[in-house]
């Protein structure tokens, strides 16, 4: 957990007072909507169908119990009692009043939370692995570096009016849980042959209308140079990124049009000038940030405590443990993922009451720390194994012990036409129907790991391109239709899915998905072969034949 110091707090309060002034000027007519729009976007305020939406950053997905309670309070006091956790470690409120927003921001600022740059054409919330700092085998805690970049990108005087939004993600594990390959800049912490810590830098990933997987621009950038190197990339982008067409304005298009080598050459030339500037990151500065992260004092715990042995006789507990509990780097502890995908509920939503109880649970069982991951689930990062049975009961009481993590009903979905002004079609009810179809946990276990992603339009907020099964809402003659792709993935082997056939109407989507899953069960070579691997081995054709033969 990063604790703000006086400087961070001061800046945050200065930002809140600036935004309060901007809202006042808007409501008094001094600012037109055209002028104000950019200012509200710079602070995470969109207009949706029914109301303003307010997006709050959860940098690198780490929250304290106190912060989670503050998020609950905002949900209760200024909104309708719930919030929606997004795929980029943010939380969204759907019913905020503009006139009350400055107060909500001030409340959040009290606990060191902000909404700066959660939308708009600037650098967005820097995201990271939700298991950062606790996953076995990490080369360093990526949150230290995420915080460095959070500070560097916040209110950047040169890059607050970029051609388009700019997203950075950081991982320090071999298995990428931060989806760095679909970010504008992806950073992978690793060590070079000399054993020095640095970054592999990827650039130009992104989904939306023209999806691209990021390309490596430099295999190793020394940690000392990371800010200057990022600044060089952003400067090239700010100068040359397209501003004539919003759909071609992301850095991925610039990288694509110039080619990665030419682009890298431009960056290298720029970097030469600024490498030895005040942007050089001294180890002392990193130590300073590192020292503001608190780590729990773990106790010596047995690998297999009695509590766990006893609870293993309860098949329900065992099912949950096998599904939602993951290996921690410290013996005797576990990482617990909390599914925000109960059967029949909107993916990623949590009520204020759930948040409050969860804050208490985290204090009791996880050193007061909660994580948010890009799959729209939460996690408790430091649970002693002996506490797992008690934790499970506590989670179950508030409906947060659904054992479906990484399974077919652990669906990522954008808000879609129920909330979003840009949508073609609804996403959430499709997700809800699918969770009902696959509500039987035995069936879901049999199917194994399978990610379904749903977006209500081509902007791809639900990452449908990289879903093992991707569902994209389109419109045909005023009706909701859905294109379905299979074989995408978002991890270190990131890939775009392939269209399986013509778009289908709303009422048929769940049937088609069921047919795809049935086809997979018939086609896989063993119970071990995952859905994506079967698609990879056989291609789309056998799936298409089976699914569309009768349609």
């Amino acid at each position: 957990m990063y604790a703000y110091d006086e400087l961070d707090r001061t800046l945050l309060h200065e930002r809140v007072s600036e935004f309060r002034d901007q809202v006042k000027r808007r409501l008094s007519g001094e600012l037109t909507e055209d002028e104000f729009k950019m200012l509200r976007l710079q602070n995470g305020v969109y207009l949706q169908l029914h109301a303003y939406m307010f997006r709050v950053a959860i940098p690198y997905g780490t929250l304290s119990s106190q912060q989670l309670r503050a998020l609950a309070k905002v949900a209760r006091r200024y909104d309708r009692g719930y919030g929606h956790f997004t795929t980029r470690q943010n939380i969204q409120y759907n019913w905020i009043k503009l006139s009350e927003l400055p107060d909500a921001l001030a409340d959040l600022a009290e606990v060191g939370i902000h909404a700066m740059q959660t939308s708009g054409n600037n650098t967005r919330n820097v995201t990271s692995d939700q298991w950062a700092g606790v996953a076995p085998g990490e080369v360093d805690d990526p949150r230290i570096w995420s915080e460095l970049l959070r500070q560097y990108t916040t209110l950047h005087p040169e890059f607050s009016f970029l051609p388009r939004k700019f997203k950075i993600a950081i991982t320090a594990s071999a298995h990428d849980r931060a989806a760095i390959k679909i970010h504008d800049i992806g950073l992978r912490l690793h060590k070079n042959e000399a054993g020095e810590l640095g970054f592999e830098v990827l650039v130009g990933g992104g989904l939306g209308r023209t999806p691209f997987i990021a390309k490596t621009i430099k295999q190793f950038v020394h940690r000392r140079d990371i800010l200057s190197y990022v600044e060089a990339i952003m400067r090239v982008y700010n100068q040359y990124g397209r501003r004539d067409n919003i759909y071609k304005a992301r850095i991925k298009i610039l990288v694509h049009e110039l080619g990665i080598d030419k682009f890298a050459g431009e960056v290298e030339e720029e970097w030469r000038h600024i490498r030895d500037s005040a942007l050089a990151v001294e180890d002392a500065a990193i130590d300073e940030i590192r020292a503001r992260f608190t780590y729990p004092t773990y106790e010596k715990q047995p690998h297999m405590p009695d509590e766990l042995k006893q609870a293993a006789h309860d098949p329900l507990f065992e099912r949950w443990r096998r599904n939602s509990v993951f290996t921690h780097k410290v013996q005797g502890y576990s990482i617990v993922t909390i599914s925000l995908k109960p059967v029949g509920a909107p993916p990623g939503d949590a009520t204020a009451d759930q948040m409050d109880v969860l804050a208490d649970i985290a204090e009791r069982y996880s050193f007061g720390e909660i994580r948010v991951g890009h799959e729209q689930n939460l996690a408790l990062p430091h649970v002693a194994k002996r506490d797992l049975p008690a934790l499970w009961k506590a989670l179950d009481r508030i409906g947060l012990a659904t054992p479906n993590v990484n399974l077919v009903s652990d669906i990522i979905a954008c808000p879609g036409l129920d909330y979003c002004a840009l949508a073609n079609a609804r996403s959430i009810p499709i997700a809800q129907e699918l969770t009902r179809r696959f509500a039987n946990h035995d069936t879901a276990d049999l199917i194994g790991r399978l990610h379904i992603n749903i977006s209500g339009c081509i902007n791809a907020c639900g990452h449908h391109h990289v879903g093992h099964i991707g569902i994209l809402g389109v419109e045909k003659n005023g009706e909701e239709f859905y294109q379905i792709t299979i074989g995408g993935r978002a991890d270190e082997q990131a890939e775009m899915g392939t269209l399986i056939g013509p778009a289908v109407p709303y009422a048929e989507v769940a049937d088609v998905v069921e047919d795809i899953v049935e086809a997979y069960l018939a086609l896989r070579d063993s119970g071990e072969e995952l859905f994506v691997d079967t698609v990879k081995r056989l291609g789309v054709e056998p799936f298409r034949e089976r699914v569309y033969a009768t349609r």
């Binding site: 909107p346 949590a350 009810p429």
Partner: protein
């Protein structure tokens, strides 16, 4: 922003002008008396592109009161009742089509 006067406006049937209220984002419709209402049945209904354009231009002048005004289709029932003309507008009138998350 292109002024509504320059935009090409085509309507396929009876239409209204709708927007969101600046202070709180609530859905509103332009009335016949140069004001806004939170009730669709009080909206001014237009039937020609010309009338739609005029209503939109007039509504857009109220930059302080409303944001994002646009023309939306409506359906007129036999009894004269004005109903939203497509799914998006139905959702804006009736709210989200899903149950909110259950309180813990």
């Amino acid at each position: 922003m292109t002024s509504p006067l320059q935009q090409k406006i085509r309507i396929t049937g009876p239409s209204v002008v709708t927007a969101n209220r600046t202070s709180d984002g609530v859905v509103i419709w332009r009335t016949g008396s140069k004001g806004w209402s939170t009730d669709l049945t009080e909206a001014a209904v237009v039937r020609t592109a010309e009338a739609a354009r005029e209503l939109l231009a007039e509504a857009s002048n109220d930059d302080l009161g409303a944001i994002g005004p646009y023309i939306a289709p409506v359906e007129i029932k036999d009894d004269g009742k004005v109903m939203p003309g497509n799914l998006r507008e139905r959702i804006r009138v009736k709210g989200i089509t899903i149950e909110l998350p259950l309180p813990a």
